[in-house]
């Protein structure tokens, strides 16, 4: 029973949500909405669980005085301060300040630092070693050139060329990839719905 009950619950939930896509029945819509609300609450608890796990991990590091104790202290302090501001002063000026002057600059800096790595690694990546490297270099140069923000002002051919490249060769390739992914997703979904596969079960239950 312990093995069968989760399988039946998962399969029934899946069938209800799938049927709700196809059938326009108010009562089915209501059940599907309740299930989705439940799913969102569970997702929120999963986030909470992650938070508790992170907290426990770093508290243990500090307690055991392992390497990186300073980073753990900084992380815990930031976590506690953000939590307190978020709970006590939600959508406040303080929260906006924390976003604008701490989170935003840090994340933007991390993104900007990638530029240095990109340029540095481009030095080796674009060197012509074989036929594939020639294709990589030519396609990269073409798209880098077409990506320059105001390049479309140079000639009317430039935006037309970019449009053709994006919509025809690139679109064809991406369509093929997406079709492959869709077929794989359908197969996996059917296996789960018809109890052929149950990835949500623990290893012990699978056995």
């Amino acid at each position: 029973m312990r093995k069968i009950l989760p399988l039946i619950a998962a399969s029934v939930c899946g069938v209800i949500i799938l049927a709700n896509y196809i059938l326009k029945l108010p009562w089915l819509d209501s059940i599907a909405s309740k299930l989705l609300e439940g799913g969102m609450i569970l997702a929120a608890f999963a986030l909470l669980l992650g938070l508790v796990n992170l907290l426990a991990f770093h508290v243990r590091r500090i307690y055991e005085k392992k390497n990186g104790i300073i980073q753990s202290i900084v992380l815990l302090s930031a976590m506690v301060i953000t939590l307190v501001i978020g709970i006590v002063l939600p959508a406040s000026a303080e929260q906006s300040w924390a976003f604008n002057y701490i989170l935003y600059p840090l994340q933007a800096t991390m993104g900007a630092l990638l530029v240095f790595y990109a340029v540095n690694s481009a030095f080796r990546a674009f060197q012509l070693r074989n036929g594939a490297a020639v294709v990589l270099l030519l396609s990269s140069l073409t798209f880098l050139f077409l990506l320059i923000p105001f390049i479309s002002g140079l000639s009317p051919i430039v935006p037309a060329l970019r449009n053709w490249l994006v919509l025809v060769p690139l679109g064809a390739g991406m369509r093929g990839i997406l079709l492959g992914i869709a077929l794989g997703t359908i197969t996996s979904a059917l296996r789960i719905l018809f109890l052929g596969d149950h990835p949500y079960a623990s290893n012990a239950e699978k056995r």
């Binding site: 896509y21 935003y104 993104g111 481009a122 990506l147 479309s152 002002g153 140079l154 991406m174």
Partner: protein, 404 residues
Amino acid sequence: MIVCPVCGHHNEHEDTACTACGGNLAHYVHIACPICGTQNNAGDLYCFRCLTLLRAENDSSSAVGSTEPGETLVVPADPLAELKQVLPLASASFAPPLAGIPPFETNALAIEQMRLIATGTAEPDPLRKIRPAPKPAAPRGIHWILVITIFLIALGSIIVPFSLPFEVRARDSVSELAQAIASLPKGAVVLVSFDYSPTFAGEMDPLAQAILQQLSQRSARLLIMSTLPTGMGSAERVLAETRQQNQLGVYGQDYILMGYLAGEDSGLRLLTSGFSTAYKTDYLHLQDINSFPLIVDAPTLARVQRVIVLAEDANIVRRWVEQVLSRIPISLDAAVSASAEPSLVPYYLSKQLSSLVAGLPAAVEYAALNGGQAADWRYTVAFAGLLFVLILVAIGANIASLVH
């Protein structure tokens, strides 16, 4: 750091069992050889390099290196001893070299022999001269030239004023979005989802500002939301910029910040049941969402004229198409980062997306269509400079290798 193969938990290098699941990590723990310093598996009896005995039998912790001269060491039992009884050739093939020999003593001679072996094996690996050393990404001098160039471009884009010497032409997809917004009736309700984090602010903010400016010029009523936890922060920043240049109207009546919608696919699916189902309160004042006139006028997505998704990632737009567009026939526009564009082209070609605009080029073209420049020109100039550097590096690297 040892990553547990069972649960993926990160353990300290000396942990013999996973601190999360208790899984056995003994094979991943290493013991340094006291003679040559080579790292051996914790379970190894001898150093694989200099054959020094790492620990005495039945002792999992003490290393031989700590043994004093003269101390008796117990030689381990022959690991193939049991096979002798099974295999007929055991007596010939598996003659135990240590059978019958009493435990030996670590006298001065033995220690000297071990020292000589260790000295010999601890010498630099002769193959190291033959094995090619890993090359740096770029030679050190060129590396620094590149770093300084990028820094100067970033600095120059802030300091030096820049204006275009020519007119920018917009692509079809950009024109489509601009025309669609221009054709909106006055007071039309538009939902804008800020689905990008600050990492993409440099690329996405100018595009978001250009679109919001046109929407505010058309007196569109805006429902603002995000499916990313940091998205509402980005929305507040862009709204603050737009508010300086254009009137956004009265909060709750002309625009409302609904907030972060958790649950990704499930959250968007729930949004199709009505805004008050997905949101109980607004983001700014935490008031009942049904108390705002804008929500009363447009309680569901069916009453929204357009949905504009500002996304950093193609998967976010895919979610909107699969979860929202499949249930409610809305006009869905995607303004995305340049890296997300290729994955979304099939959705645009199949008309699931009414328009698809991407990256900073789209921001420049969009702003040009509305008779101005991109709101934050600095990003655009810096981005263009970076692309020039990349092109020069690609060409220069090959010329340099040809010359050499």
